[in-house]
């Protein structure tokens, strides 16, 4: 088990170095950082001095080393647009994005699993057919369109839910803000979370449905039936447990892409998260923010991957053995 963990951590580190390299190259070669900092009328000597003081004349490897060193100290430089440290800008917005992504993921997982199990066990019922049709819509409609449709229906026509912003937030600790504890915060979460989670929900539903139908055909389910075990135990114990193993992996990995995809949803709902910040950064070639965002998303993916692998080992006894070996 320990060897397995160490091996996986080493792999993760390797991936992070690769991501850092890409971020660094972006920093160095997309646009010229100095040009972004100086005005048109700055004298050439001034520019050269700035270039020297920023270390841009050092060998690339030294610069990369410095970049990694800074990153390890959460120092991503100063935003060109805002003239503020990137770390501070991201930290201010991270809670909004993370709360949105987490809510969307939980929604997708719970609803997706319930619908998938229902469809697998009642394959020919009309409700299962409805779920199937809905899932097709969820998979094929683009996120921004779903968002706009939801806004139109629930915010414009019915007026039940707000269409933008986070509502009222509460401060927790130094820098975390949460919308979980106010009515307006929770209400504001609903539409964006559904929009963001819908695609993953349909994915999970289809996965659970297919996987569970497969499991229901296995010999051990047949043998469980032959022993007269209760239907409830066969469906929700024996079958579901085996179904969820591959689902855990996919769902876990989806969490990463939910965070990454939040950009679109945040734009549609004007959600004050990191996605919007990133989009503005792209528009204004604000490289430090883009690089930091890239590093952050890469880091989240790696961490989630690692956690999923370890969780997988905990639920599947066969893998526990494989890991020990």
């Amino acid at each position: 088990m320990l060897a397995f963990i160490i091996r996986r951590i080493a792999q993760s580190l390797f991936v992070m170095v690769a991501v850092a390299l890409i971020a660094f190259l972006m920093f160095r070669f997309v646009g010229d950082p100095v040009n972004q900092m100086v005005g048109i009328d700055t004298p050439q000597e001034e520019v050269a001095r700035l270039r020297e003081s920023l270390g841009l004349n050092d060998p690339a490897i030294v610069q990369f080393g410095r970049f990694v060193w800074d990153v390890l100290h959460f120092n991503f430089g100063v935003s060109y647009q805002f003239r503020l440290p990137v770390t501070q800008l991201l930290a201010e917005r991270a809670p909004a994005t993370l709360e949105l992504a987490l809510t969307a993921a939980i929604f997708a997982l719970i609803v997706g699993v319930i619908m998938g199990v229902y469809c697998a066990l009642n394959r020919d019922s009309w409700l299962a057919r409805v779920f199937q049709a809905v899932s097709l819509v969820g998979v094929s409609l683009p996120t921004f369109l779903i968002g706009i449709l939801l806004i139109y229906l629930f915010a414009v026509i019915l007026g039940w839910l707000p269409s933008n912003g986070r509502g009222q937030v509460v401060k927790i600790g130094e820098w975390w803000t949460t919308g979980f504890f106010t009515a307006s915060g929770l209400k504001a979460l609903i539409l964006p979370a559904i929009t963001l989670g819908l695609f993953q929900m349909t994915l999970i539903m289809r996965l659970v449905r297919a996987e569970m139908m497969e499991v229901m055909r296995t010999d051990y389910i047949k043998f469980a039936k032959a022993r007269g075990l209760r239907t409830r135990s066969i469906h929700f114990g024996h079958a579901l447990k085996n179904t969820l193993i591959p689902v855990i992996t996919i769902a876990g990995l989806q969490l990463g892409s939910i965070i990454a995809f939040a950009i679109i949803t945040e734009t549609v709902f004007n959600w004050p998260g990191m996605g919007i910040l990133f989009l503005k950064a792209v528009q204004n070639v604000d490289i430090p923010i883009m690089a930091a965002y890239l590093m952050l998303i890469g880091f989240l993916f790696v961490i989630i991957n690692l956690a999923v692998d370890l969780a997988y080992g905990l639920v599947d006894p066969r893998l526990r053995v494989a890991m020990r070996a």
């Binding site: 022993r227 639920v315 006894p317 053995v321």
Partner: protein, 332 residues
């Protein structure tokens, strides 16, 4: 043979498919008495597994029991509501499947699976159920059962897993058990042990057994009676020594010819040419007629029903479905 445990009467099973309704089991009848082992042989697709599944009520759509009756101690069980049949399954009737590697749920400890089965069908307390589970594992020959009970299936070898499967099937002392090719997936070296174990446990408990196998040697050693199935029908059924030594049905003769014994000479080791018909394409009359070298006119029109042949020197209860023995034109 009074008071059979299981009686199958004119059983028909059909599968509804896109290409029409396929009759997989057609008018099959047999009885199995307390403590008796009925061996069932026949080519792949003859309907052995479907017959077993039908008896324990596990035919699922698109399959259905299209006719006939199944009686347990004289009471019909084929038309029971699902929930009632579930209570009987595992407690009164049980089934062992072919592949022990896939019959156990990989995510549950062996003990959990045993204890759940026992608790489902008895009023035992969880700790008493655990005691019983350990005793069962000991009885099927698993060493250190009090430790192994907490193992996962993948920690057991194939033969050991099949022992666990047997313990599971017998955990509530059923009156009847279907063993569907219980050793086919196992190493040759452990096959005999597993068969001997099933035979011993069922003898001790008086369990009636339907033993499906391709191995005529196992039949000859283990079974009391044997049924030869062909294309969803019983071709021949009778006491095992009689059927093995004096098979009457041309198909059975071909099958038995494949077991070498001291009395048989090389010429009798025949293979039957041809293959069993597809269910969608069973010929009129006797299903075996395209492959039978003794077929005559009547075989192509009229279906032979199993009867005790007249004038042959056979033991009572030996029945054969072949026009050679129904008297009249063409018969011997």
């Amino acid at each position: 043979m009074s008071d059979p445990v299981i009686s199958v009467r004119n059983l028909c099973v059909e599968f509804v498919t896109r290409r029409g309704v396929l009759r997989a089991i057609d008018n099959v009848s047999f009885d199995i008495a307390k403590g008796e082992v009925l061996g069932v042989v026949g080519e792949s697709g003859a309907g052995k597994s479907v017959t077993g599944s039908a008896i324990i009520g596990l035919i699922e759509p698109p399959g259905r029991i299209a006719g006939g009756e199944i009686l347990l101690h004289g009471k019909r069980i084929d038309n029971l509501p699902q929930e009632d049949m579930r209570r009987i399954r595992g407690r009164k009737v049980a089934m062992i499947f072919q592949d022990p590697l896939t019959s156990l749920n990989p995510l549950y400890r062996v003990g959990e699976q045993l204890i759940e089965t026992i608790l489902t069908h008895t009023d035992l307390s969880p700790s008493a159920a655990r005691e019983r589970a350990i005793a069962l594992l000991a009885e099927v020959g698993i060493p250190a059962p009090d430790k192994r009970i907490d193992g996962y299936p993948h920690e057991f070898s194939g033969g050991m897993r099949q022992r666990v499967v047997i313990a599971l099937a017998l955990s509530c002392e059923p009156d009847f058990i279907v063993a569907d090719e219980p050793t086919t997936a196992l190493d040759v070296s452990v096959q005999a042990q597993i068969i001997a174990l099933i035979k011993k446990l069922c003898r001790e408990r008086g369990t009636a057994v339907m033993l499906v196998t391709h191995d005529m040697g196992v039949i000859a050693e283990t079974a009391d009676r044997v049924a030869v199935m062909y294309a969803g029908r019983v071709a021949e059924i009778g006491p095992v020594r009689d059927v093995v030594r004096h098979p009457l049905h041309p198909y059975a003769r071909g099958l038995m010819g494949a077991i070498p014994t001291l009395e048989t000479d090389a010429e009798r080791l025949t293979q039957i040419p041809g293959a069993m018909p597809r269910l969608s394409n069973i010929p009129q009359g006797c299903a075996f007629n395209p492959r039978c070298d003794q077929a005559f006119d009547r075989c192509h029109v009229e279906r032979p029903e199993p009867i005790e042949p007249q004038g042959e020197n056979v033991e009572p209860g030996h029945r054969v479905a072949c026009h050679l023995y129904t008297g009249g034109e063409g018969a011997r």
